[in-house]
Amino acid sequence: MAALIGGILLAAGVMLYVIEPVFSGRGAPVYDSEDDYDEGAARRRVALTALRDLEYDRATGKLDRKDYESLRAELSHDALRQLEPDAEGGDPADSVVERASSELEDEIAQIRRALREGLECASCQHVNRAGARFCAQCGQALEAGGGAGTRTNAGASGVAGAES
């Protein structure tokens, strides 16, 4: 008898808990709150990981100089293509690379400097002291500075990190 009452109570509790969302309309998120994984991000990560592995293979003597250089050129080419937001959709990679390579080198230099000295503001390019949360020149929040420039900066810092 006790078991039967226990069973009924169990069934009732379970039913209430399971059905409640349908009546209250409370729902689980259908999409990720910030859809931060996209195919592009994955590809960028893969391209950067490949570069990192290449450096590792070279450092541990698995690649000789010639292979290393040709693969590095090839992988950097891939990585640059992935870093360029517009590149998806089959743009001819070569023009992109031409455009991007000089910009990228500038950016790498900037990032290296910023990492060494402090943070660079995304809107006015003022280099702030390390740890600053707002730009000393224009007052822009440094951490949340979005925009295409910052995106490429962050990606390029990955390359810079891989190279270091």
């Binding site: 349908v22 729902g27 999409y31 990192r52 590792y56 698995k62 000789d64 951490e143 962050a154 990190g161």
Partner: protein, 681 residues
């Protein structure tokens, strides 16, 4: 409690069906409330199945023999912890236990993904809940309910098979089942990826941990099972290519292949269809391992009187799942196209591919051998068994090539490597291998396969050690750190890679231990107390075992059966090269209620070899103290367990929360701003 458990199982059925249907509808229509309701059923099912499991355990502990499952697998005299383990002692309970573990993993998957990977989740929970619903339907309607009553209450149960009365019973099956059930989660994500069409490597990135977790438990379960079989006489040593052993090895082989091939997909965007196939096959093989081997289908060669209903149900279900998955893969073929091609035969991806082919080759050989009796029975009306010689002939050469690949793979660079560079990298390890080979030949070792194993093992070990050394050195140079912190930083930065190398080292030690079997020495002799038996091991150690006495615990009145077992214990003193190193107590046991016997061997381990003592022939009736002993000197067996331990540690290194930047965090930082200097590199 037991009645409540049965009620809980009945409540679980509509709940599981509700959750399955709602999850799929919710995913299709994008309705969050339906999805939430579906996800809640996962938690609820865990609770309900837990109540059902506790109900079964309560019936065991409370000696409720009106339940046929309890009456068949327990008796009053059984120790309490074996009664608790009664939950997985037989097929019916195992089914409940499997369902319980699956529901726990489903809940963990739902909980950890409550705020992320949301597009996948409705179909993931739908798939997992569907599996649970199927299992519950089987439990309730396929004549395998553990709550089935006999109609009368026997005074005592039939007891647990003596061979299962070992402390391993409480460790080995749960570990293996954890491995089996954990693999359901990657399977569910794969199905979800196919259904949603999100077929980039994301589902792999999400489930990588799960795959490794499942692999870790499978490995531990198999090695623990080997240890149990080694200690339990009558199971033919640590490995006998028995159908049940084979069945647990099959998913391990394909899971190992999968662990390697996903790296090709992640790095190079290749092998997408292959990976889908592997995840489906591995999951089906876990079902095969749990249910078909216990259903009597395979053992039907020995007894035709088994009830095969459950076997056919599972066979049908597996067939259905396989067909459904195949259709989905074919439907999604356009999205599963390879993004790259293998650039060179000399590349890590081609080494991985080769490793996959070999692992699948072994899988096929083992599956063929396991199913062969069934196939011949079906087609020719007579059953033909294949024995260990078949498996050894096929698998030892393939295993050796795989072993060698474990050394070659890590040294070859991704994409392409130049032969000149390979030569330079292989010189030192090859020298190590040849040196070991030469030393063994000089020492008079003449067993070809064992020699090959030792040589290749030395080669691979040299490569693994050098990888660690070179990586540490490179890191110390680049980061300007000391050797120790460079080593720690190295492993922390890429736990998967270095954990993998530790696993490789463990496998090398394990293989070396297996090869030791070529040099077993066996002697047999009848002894009276005070007499001794001598054996000279392959390592040249002279062992002398002095049989001191035989004691027994048999009660005076033979009809007094209040004891679970009566024991005859021989006491032997062991001398190595004239020096006393200890005693061993091999035993014979009688289980009066079941009218069965078992033998507990005596094992004396050292670093290099085991001494294995079997009391072969004990006169249990007359009380005479003359005993026939079989003594084996088994070289390198301790290395098997040691290697297994290293493999487990390596898997844990890979599983440990990683210090590298996860995909999501990296992507989020990409939007927010530059990475902190320490995050990359």
């Amino acid at each position: 409690m037991t009645v409540l458990g049965e009620i809980a199982l009945w409540i679980a059925l509509p709940v599981a069906l509700w959750g399955t249907v709602l999850s799929f509808i919710g995913g299709r229509s994008g309705r969050g409330d339906l999805i939430l309701s579906g996800e809640r059923t996962a938690y609820v099912l865990t609770l309900l199945i837990l109540v059902a499991s506790l109900g079964i355990i309560a019936a065991f502990v409370g000696n409720q023999y009106q339940y046929s499952y309890v009456a068949n697998y327990s008796n009053r005299e059984l120790d309490t912890y074996f009664k608790v383990a009664g939950l997985w002692a037989g097929q019916r309970g195992s089914l409940v236990f499997w369902t319980l573990l699956l529901s726990v993993f489903a809940s963990i998957a739902v909980f950890t993904n409550r705020n992320r990977n949301r597009e996948f989740m409705p179909y993931v929970s739908g798939t997992l809940l569907g599996l649970l619903a199927f299992l519950i339907v089987v439990l309730l309607f396929a004549d395998v309910s553990p709550f089935e009553r006999l109609g009368f209450t026997p005074a005592n149960g039939r007891g647990l098979n003596p061979q299962l009365q070992s402390y391993w019973m409480t460790i080995h099956p749960p570990t293996l089942y954890l491995g089996f059930t954990a693999f359901a989660v990657p399977f569910a994500f794969a199905i979800s990826a196919l259904l949603t069409g999100r077929l980039d490597s994301r589902w792999i990135a999400i489930t990588r941990r799960w795959i490794l977790l499942s692999w870790f438990f499978l490995t531990c379960g198999i090695v623990l099972g080997m240890r149990w079989a080694y200690e339990e006489l009558g199971w033919g040593g640590y490995w006998f290519w028995d159908p049940v052993e084979n069945a647990s090895l099959l998913p391990w082989l394909t899971a190992t292949a999968f662990l390697h091939s996903i790296q090709i997909q992640e790095n190079r965007g290749m092998l997408k269809v292959w990976n889908m196939a592997l995840v489906v096959i591995t999951f089906l093989l876990t079902l095969f391992a749990t249910f078909l081997t216990r259903s009597g289908l395979i053992e039907s060669v020995h007894s035709f009187a088994q009830n095969l209903t459950i076997a056919y149900i599972f066979l049908g279900f597996m067939g259905g799942l396989a067909a459904f998955s195949c259709l989905l893969i074919v439907y999604r073929l356009p999205l599963l196209r390879s993004e790259n091609q293998i650039q060179s035969f000399l590349s890590r991806e081609s080494a991985f591919l080769f490793n996959n082919l070999l692992l699948v080759g072994i899988t096929f050989a083992v599956a063929w051998g396991t199913l062969f009796p069934l196939i011949t029975e079906g087609f020719f009306g007579e059953t033909i068994n294949v024995g260990p010689p078949f498996y050894n002939r096929v698998n030892i050469p393939i295993g050796l090539i795989l072993l060698a690949l474990m050394g070659i793979g890590p040294v070859i660079a991704w994409r392409r490597a130049s032969p000149r560079n390979l030569r330079r990298n292989f010189v030192l390890p090859l020298v190590a291998g040849v040196a070991v080979l030469g030393a063994l030949l000089l020492a008079g070792v003449r067993h070809n396969m064992a020699l090959a194993t030792f040589g290749v093992s030395a080669f691979v070990m040299a490569i693994v050690v050098r990888e660690f050394w070179k990586g540490t050195k490179a890191r110390a140079r680049i980061a300007g750190e000391g050797v120790f912190s460079a080593f720690r930083g190295l492993v922390r930065r890429n736990r998967r890679r270095w954990g993998g190398y530790v696993v490789h080292a463990g496998v090398v030690v394990l293989f070396t231990g297996l090869a030791g079997a070529a040099f077993d020495v066996v002697v047999e002799q009848e002894l009276a107390p005070g007499e001794a038996i001598s054996v000279r091991s392959a390592f040249g150690n002279e062992y002398r075992l002095v049989y001191e006495s035989l004691s027994h615990s048999r009660p005076r009145a033979a009809e007094d059966v209040a004891e679970n077992d009566w024991r005859w214990t021989a006491l032997m003193t062991i001398y190595r090269n004239g020096e006393r190193i200890g005693v061993t107590r091999p035993e014979r046991r009688i289980y009066p209620v079941m009218e069965q016997q078992s033998t507990e061997v005596g094992i004396a381990s050292s670093l290099l070899e085991d001494l294995y003592v079997i009391p072969k022939d004990v006169d249990l009736d007359s009380g005479a103290e003359r005993v026939v002993f079989e003594v084996k000197a088994l070289p390198l067996v301790p290395w098997i367990w040691c290697g297994g331990l290293v493999v487990a540690i390596g898997a844990l290194v890979g599983l440990w929360p990683t210090g590298t930047v996860p995909v999501r965090a990296a992507a989020a930082r990409r939007v927010r701003g530059p990475l902190p200097a320490g995050a990359v590199g």
